[in-house]
């Protein structure tokens, strides 16, 4: 078990938080987060609701401004390089929402184009969707006919198409069946192998252990501990998690 805020690969971090804090009125949602995620790392943020996981992701996306500290993407301060930093990121929310009147291909083409990928061509778009796990036959259908799992796969395809340096995942497997969750983990693994830095907020301890390289446990807006998944078993992770999020572990 290690406790470090540095990238443990030695490479320059693609996602970095420096004393990152966020207040909503008198409530501190995130408290002095220090974090560095290197290329090829999958960092899983665990914690109960309200721990600050989604706030952290929102700060990296520039959706909210930090009260203190900095969020950096590939060394770019999100607050001062909003668009440039977003160009280096891909984001998959808990529920990927798409345009119901457009097909999977059309949705992917649109988001990819906005992400700066230009015109990918229909064949390439279908290829990416299939790579993301979508059935080839479904790619041309309107998204209004898709299940949640299929929409999540389009979300993954959007991330793949963007060829981003870093990937932000906010509860991406919530509500997915085990097969879909497993496919999702495999995809994250592939992206990790391509050198993408991944920050994933999740409640799923099993998925965090299975997919992540490091796990951070948050509570009351603070990162209370960090673990290397290579050095800990599933049972230990659950025990540590419960220790840190139980009431007697509070500040």
């Amino acid at each position: 078990m290690t406790e470090s805020h540095e990238s443990n690969t030695g490479a320059a971090p693609l996602l970095e938080a420096r004393g990152l804090s966020k207040d909503y009125g008198s409530t501190r949602a995130l408290d002095s987060l220090d974090l560095a995620i290197a290329p090829g790392e999958v960092y899983c943020l665990l914690g109960p609701n309200g721990a600050g996981k989604t706030t952290t992701i929102n700060l990296f996306l520039g959706f909210v401004a930090p009260s203190a500290g900095q969020a950096l993407v590939a060394g770019l301060n999100v607050s001062t390089h909003d668009r440039e930093s977003k160009r280096r990121l891909a984001y998959i929310p808990e529920q990927v929402m798409l345009y119901r009147n457009l097909s999977g291909i059309e949705n992917l083409e649109y988001f990819a184009a906005l992400g700066g990928q230009g015109s990918l061509g229909r064949e390439r778009l279908v290829e990416i969707l299939v790579e993301a796990g979508l059935d080839g036959e479904a790619t041309g259908r309107r998204v209004s006919t898709y299940s949640k799992g299929m929409r999540q796969k389009v979300g993954i395809a959007i991330a793949i198409a963007k060829e981003a340096d870093a990937l932000l995942l906010d509860e991406p497997t919530s509500g997915l069946d085990p097969t879909a969750s497993s496919e999702f983990s495999a995809l994250v693994e592939r992206l990790r192998n391509r050198g993408v830095a991944v920050l994933m907020a999740t409640h799923d301890l099993f998925r965090a252990k299975d997919t992540g390289t490091r796990v951070g446990i948050m509570r009351y807006g603070r990162l209370v501990t960090e673990l290397s998944t290579a050095e800990i078993g599933h049972a230990d992770l659950e025990r540590v998690y419960l220790e840190h999020v139980s009431d007697n572990g509070g500040p």
Binding site: L61, F63, R83, E84, K86, R87, L89, A90, Y91, P93, Q95, V96, M97, L98, Y99, N101, L102, E106, Y110, F111, A113, L114, G115, G116, G155, I158, K162, L168
Partner: protein
């Protein structure tokens, strides 16, 4: 990148059944109202032409009679329908388009059906102008109220913004996408309108094509105002429902409340008499005269002529003293008419200016005023025709009384003129005012609409930048 957003918005919209049906409805109403207006205008023009020819024929074939009797026989004058009047019939249904020109009377503003109508009655039937001023903005609202608000609710806005697309590009793309969808119904209507103008073959009078181009520009600006307002509200509203309710309230105030308030307020600030009051006032003043305008005295007139010609008896005069007196009566009536109609026109002008200024509260007032002006159916162009007709009437009376004066003697009741005199009177050749004259009258409306356009775009620009993703 913007073209991608435009294409997506356009595709998304036209695949939306709600848009398809509402666009079909509004587009159909627009085309039907244009077609109906064109048929009505063409029919009215043909009827006017036929009636004008008949009236002329009656004038020329009225037989031999005293010229003053011919002056009482009178002629009808018909206000020509300008080519664009099929788009906006304006005040024509209320002011009328024909006038009987006769001796001693200026008939135009008497017996107008709308003289005592309420402000609500002035709105009239559904015309292309009504569709453009009311239904198209409603369609714009329905298309765009959720541009940001619905995307925020659905969660797609987070994903969109996460791609790195700029707010301004997003707003511009959405605006152009919605414009493309609207163009599906507006472009055919514009083409139909232009074709109607060409088919109508209006000639160079009143520059119809230039008027049509400016009219299209004015409506385009009006639509952009609504588009920008809708995007601004959608960007900042807490929910799409809030955005829709707010925008519908704006639509109601703009299209239904403000125009009526503006009319009623302008009538309150610059009151005008009812048709009955006006007629009574003119009648009274014609009978008694007013300060500085006294009715002619027949004895004085006779004495002056006797002195002028050195005659002792009217029978010795080389001219008909009655003809001179009748013309003096005409001149007296004309001064009474000028005094009363001048005040009435001035009140109408002040009412119009106040209404145009009140467009600062509702752009529909500005575009309505411009629309009527460019269609040639506003109060100013009615006045332009009425004054031309009145000038013609006065010339006609002067010619009739002059002929009687020159060609008969006082007390000679047997004198009768014939077709030669009637044919020597030229028909009324009315030329509608040019575009520059119309725009000169509508400077205030142009300025207010321009201010609305700039303000709405600025508002959209600032509000979209301040939009939140969740």
């Amino acid at each position: 990148m913007i073209h991608r957003i435009v294409r997506k918005e356009f595709t998304d919209m036209i695949r939306d059944g709600r848009f398809r049906w509402s666009a079909i409805l509004v587009g159909s109403l627009l085309l039907v109202s244009l077609a109906h207006g064109w048929v009505q205008a063409r029919k009215a023009s043909q009827e006017h032409a036929a009636a004008q020819a008949t009236a002329r024929e009656h004038w020329e074939t009225q037989g031999e009679k005293n010229p003053h009797s011919a002056a009482h026989y009178g002629v009808y004058a018909f206000k020509p329908r300008l080519a664009l009047s099929f788009v906006d019939e304006g005040v024509d249904p209320f002011t009328g388009t024909s006038v009987w020109l006769e001796a001693h009377r200026q008939n135009d503003f008497l017996m107008r059906p709308a003289q005592d109508s309420t402000a609500a009655q002035r709105i009239g039937a559904l015309t292309a102008a009504q569709v453009l001023q009311h239904l198209v903005p409603l369609l714009i609202i329905l298309l765009t109220f959720g541009a940001f608000a619905s995307e925020r609710e659905r969660g797609t806005l987070r994903q969109l913004v996460a791609t790195g697309v700029g707010w301004r590009e997003l707003a511009l793309g959405k605006a152009l996408g919605a414009s493309g969808a609207l163009a599906l119904l507006l472009v055919p209507a514009a083409v139909a309108g232009a074709a109607a103008l060409v088919v109508a073959n209006p000639g160079p009078t009143a520059s119809p094509l230039a008027r049509g181009a400016v009219l299209a520009g004015a409506y385009l600006a009006y639509f952009v105002v609504f588009l920008a307002l809708s995007l601004a509200v959608s960007a900042r509203a807490k929910s799409s429902r809030t955005a829709l309710v707010f925008l519908l309230a704006v639509w109601v105030v703009n299209g239904l409340v403000a125009p009526r308030v503006a009319v009623d307020l302008s009538k309150r600030v610059y009151p005008t008499p009812s048709a009955f009051e006006f007629a009574r006032t003119v009648e009274r003043e014609m009978a008694d005269g007013v300060e500085d305008i006294a009715p002619p005295d027949r004895d004085e007139s006779t004495q002056r002529l006797l002195a002028e010609y050195g005659a002792e008896r009217v029978e010795d005069l080389p001219i008909n003293a009655v003809g001179v007196y009748l013309q003096e009566s005409e001149e007296f009536s004309n001064r009474i008419f000028d005094r009363n109609y001048g005040a009435l026109w001035d009140a109408f002008r002040r009412q119009g200016i106040l209404q145009e200024a009140l467009a600062a509260a509702a752009p529909s007032i500005a575009v309505r005023t411009l629309s009527m002006g460019l269609a040639g159916t506003d109060v100013e162009q009615h006045r332009h025709f009425a004054e031309a007709a009145e000038t013609y009437r006065r010339d006609l009376m002067r010619q009739m009384n002059g002929d009687m004066t020159e060609n008969s003697l006082t007390g000679d009741f047997s004198y009768a003129a014939g077709a030669e005199l009637w044919e020597s009177v030229p028909p009324l050749e009315y030329e509608a005012p040019p575009l520059g004259w119309v725009l000169g009258n509508r400077i205030l409306s142009l300025a207010v609409l321009g201010a609305w356009l700039a303000g709405a775009v600025l508002l959209a620009s600032t509000q979209v930048r301040r939009a939140e993703v969740a």
